[in-house]
């Protein structure tokens, strides 16, 4: 059985939990308590030398980084495909996921904010909000003419898998005002209506509320 190393509040872990639920793939949940520093244990370092979650173990294959894990799952488990065949829409999904994975999330992940605080005592929450707003503005421009029921049309795909946790994180932890982003806000309401979204959300995880 697939093993997923995850932290309940990690939006990157949420992406993979969401993908696994959408594809109907059962998995064993192994909690990594980021607050207690379990990501720095020697055992976890063997799994991921960058000390991040999520990490996926599938037989002898160990994959870290949510983008890499997503593509691995998509290739190996072809049920309920989360990438379309059409090259333009496929590229758009990869682009949107990249924008979130590389241009938004890295600027508000806890370890980066801690490093920034240590090095130069910056007002990290304002910085995170600035980068999220910048990223959401770009996404809103990109999606407003292509979104249907979901981000890139009428089917749920990779862009949605990455967007959904990002929007929730932005609202719940960084107080982002979503009225500025009507398309993203509408998509977020759609995601909230999905059983798989609920099942993969932080509060539904075994390690929810254990550390605050």
């Amino acid at each position: 059985m697939i093993v997923l190393y995850s932290y309940w509040l990690s939006s990157c872990s949420w992406r993979i939990r969401f993908a696994l639920c959408l594809k109907g793939i059962p998995y064993e949940y192994k909690a990594v308590d980021l607050v207690k520093g379990e990501q720095f244990s020697p055992e976890f370092e063997k799994l991921n030398p960058l000390h991040c979650v999520p990490v996926l173990a599938d037989d002898h294959v160990v994959v870290s980084d949510s983008y890499a894990i997503f593509l691995y799952l998509e290739e190996k488990y072809t049920q309920k495909p989360l990438l379309p065949v059409d090259p333009q829409i496929r590229a758009l999904n990869l682009q949107i996921a990249s924008m979130i994975n590389s241009s938004i999330q890295p600027y508000h992940m806890i370890s980066a904010l801690k490093d920034m605080e240590k090095m130069f005592g910056a007002e990290t929450k304002q910085w995170a909000q600035y980068k999220i707003d910048k990223g959401f503005l770009a996404l809103e421009k990109l999606l407003k003419d292509v979104a249907g029921k979901y981000a890139t049309g009428e089917h749920i795909y990779m862009a949605d898998v990455f967007l959904a946790p990002q929007i929730m994180q932005a609202v719940n932890r960084f107080d982002i005002d979503m009225s500025k982003y009507p398309t993203l806000r509408r998509l977020s309401e759609t995601y909230k209506g999905l059983a798989e979204f609920y099942a993969s959300s932080p509060q539904s995880q075994p390690d929810a509320c254990i550390s605050q």
Partner: protein, 217 residues
């Protein structure tokens, strides 16, 4: 079809490492393209004509006939699907995963935390003297992880004896680290060796910033 017009058009900035990645991929696959410079220092990425192509206002952007593609990884994955010569992913699924992981260490854990806009922020909020130490700490963290990830997989190139996606992403990052940010080569033996190998490989050399039409010397 006797036309000399190249079907592919790449909007690029000479110093953009994301553009550098796509240039490498195009060269590896032997794909000719029109190079259309977008001067980021002059703000050309905010011009209405460019924003029509990519509302996000980033380079690189690739045009292939009617298709408009943005984001370096999305573009490269598209090229690999459509132009299968010199595949950029190995056939083994585990090695593919290693390539994606290395790619994302660069594109999510290193590049965003040392790009121009972030460094400008640090310069403004804290002071210009903080920029280099910050960049070096980001590079060191990322390279330490890459050394561990790749040590059981590396051959002549990052994940074996052939050039794959990890190399396409690593080369521009190593170029920046060793030529602009004063990271000592001996701290990271695999990274150093790969950097020298890329410098001796034509597809990478031709993609170097200083060899682009819009390079400023």
């Amino acid at each position: 079809m006797a036309s000399d017009t190249k079907k592919l058009k790449l909007y690029s900035y000479w110093r953009s490492s994301c553009s550098f990645r796509v240039r490498i991929a195009l060269n590896l696959k032997g794909l000719k393209y029109d190079y259309i410079p977008v001067n980021l220092l002059k703000g050309e990425q905010s011009h209405p004509e460019f924003l029509k192509l990519n509302p996000v206002g980033f380079v690189p952007v690739l045009l292939d006939g009617d298709l408009v593609l943005a984001d370096s990884l999305a573009i490269i994955m598209y090229l690999d699907d459509k132009y299968p010569q010199h595949p950029l992913l190995p056939s083994d699924i585990h090695k593919r995963a290693i390539n994606f992981q290395a790619t994302h260490i660069v594109s999510s854990s290193i590049q965003p935390l040392q790009n121009i806009s972030f460094l400008n922020y640090i310069g403004e909020k804290v002071g210009p003297d903080e920029k280099l130490p910050w960049v070096q700490s980001v590079l060191r963290k990322g390279f330490t992880a890459l050394e561990k990830l790749l040590k059981d997989h590396t051959g002549r190139y990052a994940t074996g004896d052939e050039i794959f996606l990890a190399d396409v992403f690593l080369a521009p990052q190593l170029h920046a680290a060793f030529t602009r940010f004063n990271i000592p080569m001996n701290e990271f033996p695999i990274m150093s060796r790969l950097h020298e190998t890329y410098n001796a490989t034509p597809a990478f050399q031709e993609a170097l910033p200083q060899n682009q039409p819009d390079a400023v010397h």
